[in-house]
Symmetry: C2
Subunit: 200 residues, 2 copies
DNA sequence: TATAACATTGCATTGGCTGCAATAAACTAT
DNA sequence: ATAGTTTATTGCAGCCAATGCAATGTTATA
């Protein structure tokens, strides 16, 4: 018991070393991928830089991309989930807040944005990863939605907005819940946009 | 010159054999992936089944997933692009029509839907591939939109709806443009959905 | 029939990724 | 402090995906 508490709290030399290793791998991966791109970086390079064996690499991250972004085990941390459970207002607003306002995602937004603006190839991979977390978001959303279908709709809408801000994000601004909401408003407005003539 | 025309027209023994090889690889990949899942199928198995060398496989498809879905070189075929350029009405409607109404996508919808319903792991990969074609869609949309930003918004909205129908699609129905449009309508309605209390 | 074009293949190689078993370090309890 | 347990790290052996190159055989052209 006391062992578990100690580990969770982050005390202990062993735990500190673990965090240190994780951090070393992430920093090396971020730096190298930012400098040479994802394809231009091998896992062996990252390991050399971080001074760990390539076997150890996979004890911490499942892929290069995850290491570069420092993506954690759980896509939604407890604090963000708690805030979502206690939120008031509209479902979509609360989801926006949970995704960019707090949680692991927010802490990594700046790096994430920097990487994808400088290396657009990453977007494809990133999109696959976001899809993987989709399920977790829907799970949470279902707790506060009037139906499972509604939860799915809301999450899809918000993730679409996220992907837009990731694509557009040249301005270096870190996405906020407000930006996300206004993107969603734009998404709705475009529904009625008419066709215009081609450059004929 | 005449050589090129001949090849494009699809005449000639050489061209027929090529299509045959392509088809054999696709059929084998589809069958095996449907039976054993993506991870449970190796490219060598597919090649054995299709009676080609594994080197030949990569002359036709860049990945297992692409082979299983039979994804072609160009994500949008000429006919669908032409229809889009000639469309009238709203931008979003025209995009829906282009994506599911015709083109390579439509021809593969049934198989695609079958695969992902039976093997949800595929959704992640599929999402990455859809993102890859996103650029091409935006290119086309820009020709008929009043701004590049508007094109991006419209494509994002439609792709979100596509991913929803792919996720939900248990009913075996092939998505139509109408289904896509009604999904988009649902997306808009969910914007104002209120939060409900958790199971507390 | 000669020759140009090209589809197919084998081979070698690189890189991502995993399982297993050994080692060394950190923790626990006495 | 010591003995015993846990566990992070590592090396190794191996599978699979993917690419480049050069050789071979088949189809097209003239």
């Amino acid at each position: 018991m006391s062992t578990l508490v100690t580990l969770d709290a982050g005390d202990g030399l062993r735990e500190r070393k673990k965090q240190q290793t994780r951090r070393a791998i992430h920093e090396a991966a971020y730096r190298l991928v930012d400098e040479h791109g994802l394809e231009g970086t091998t896992i062996d390079q990252i390991c050399r830089e971080a001074e760990v064996s390539s076997r150890t690499f996979f004890n911490y991250f499942p892929s290069k991309m995850a290491a570069a972004l420092g993506i954690p085990e759980e896509p939604v941390d407890d604090e963000a989930a708690a805030r979502f459970r206690a939120a008031t207002g509209s479902l979509v607003d609360a989801l926006c807040d949970m995704i960019v306002g707090g949680g692991q995602f927010a802490a990594r937004q700046a790096r994430l944005k920097g990487l994808v603006t400088r290396h657009p190839e990453l977007i494809r991979t990133l999109s696959g990863m976001m899809t993987a977390t989709r399920g977790r978001f829907i799970e949470l959303a279902t707790e506060r939605a009037s139906s499972a279908a509604e939860a799915e709709l809301a999450v899809t809408l918000v993730l679409a907005a996220v992907s837009l801000t990731v694509h557009n994000g040249g301005d270096g601004q870190v996405p906020t819940a407000e930006l996300l909401m206004s993107t969603i408003d734009s998404l709705e407005r475009v529904r009625s946009a008419p066709l215009v003539d081609g450059r004929g």
